[in-house]
């Protein structure tokens, strides 16, 4: 939508590095990865049941880890809405795939999960894709 606007009419983010929409996307990615790891820890700390509630994920709400994970998710959603004010949706959404880099790394560091060859290769391909996307962003910024 913004791509059609003349550069002078494009919305401008607030001054300061923190309000850079691409930094916000990076924070969204980090917070989402943290949230996923916290939710997993919360699920592991929750008592195992075979009830309907456990299938709906409600027993996990008894753990503070789960609530910290939900807080991280909600905070990341705020950053996502802010970034959408300035960055094209397709580009922004593709950049959020960085979550798939940080979740395996976080799971390896904090949960002791293994990163195999297939997963490692996938992470490298995602990094290559994100590098191309950032180059694409740089080209767009140069034109503006």
């Amino acid at each position: 939508m913004h791509d059609q606007l003349p550069s002078a009419a494009r919305p401008k983010p607030a001054p300061g590095l923190f309000w850079n929409p691409y930094l916000q996307i990076f924070l969204v990615v980090l917070l989402t990865a943290v949230a996923q790891v916290l939710l997993k820890i919360g699920a592991d700390f929750s008592p195992a049941h075979d009830s309907l509630w456990s299938w709906l994920g409600l027993t996990e709400l008894g753990s503070w880890w789960t609530w910290l994970g939900i807080l991280a998710f909600v905070t990341s959603f705020g950053g996502w809405l802010y970034a959408l004010r300035f960055v094209p949706l397709g580009l922004a959404f593709a950049l959020t795939n960085g979550v798939h880099i940080f979740v395996p790394i976080g799971s390896w560091l904090f949960l002791g999960e293994h990163i195999g060859l297939l997963r490692g290769s996938g992470i490298l391909i995602i990094i290559a894709g994100i590098l191309l996307l950032t180059q694409s962003v740089a080209r767009v910024e140069e034109k503006v």
């Binding site: 802010y82 995602i126 191309l132």
Partner: protein
């Protein structure tokens, strides 16, 4: 995968794409201010409802279908979003952007499949 599972997967992906497009449209309207900003909260609410539908359908699919069959759809969602944004928001990507999206999709499928 059964026919029902296919239908639910397709509806969930449509809800994800539509939800993100509504969120983007709401935030763009809000940014323009003035008359154009009118109704942005309603559009935002529709986006949030769509995202909730996607989340619940996705949660419902997880115990019923092998993750290896489900995760490729997670991988193609950025591609669907780019196509949806091109169709409904008139966004355009250069070749680097397209190559980046396709690479990240392949990477996500590999990470998820592992």
């Amino acid at each position: 995968m059964s026919l029902t599972a296919w239908i639910v997967v397709i509806i969930s992906q449509l809800a994800l794409v539509a939800g993100q497009i509504f969120l983007k449209r709401a935030m763009s309207r809000r940014e323009h201010g003035g008359k154009k900003a009118r109704g942005w909260t309603g559009i935002l609410a529709i986006g949030i409802v769509m995202m909730t539908v996607w989340f619940l359908l996705w949660l419902g699919l997880m115990p019923r279908i092998d993750l290896s069959k489900l995760m490729p759809f997670e991988g193609i969602s950025p591609l669907l979003i780019v196509l949806g944004a091109a169709a409904f928001l008139h966004e355009r990507l250069n070749w680097r952007g397209w190559a980046g999206v396709i690479l990240t999709c392949c990477g996500v499928v590999l990470v998820s499949a592992s």
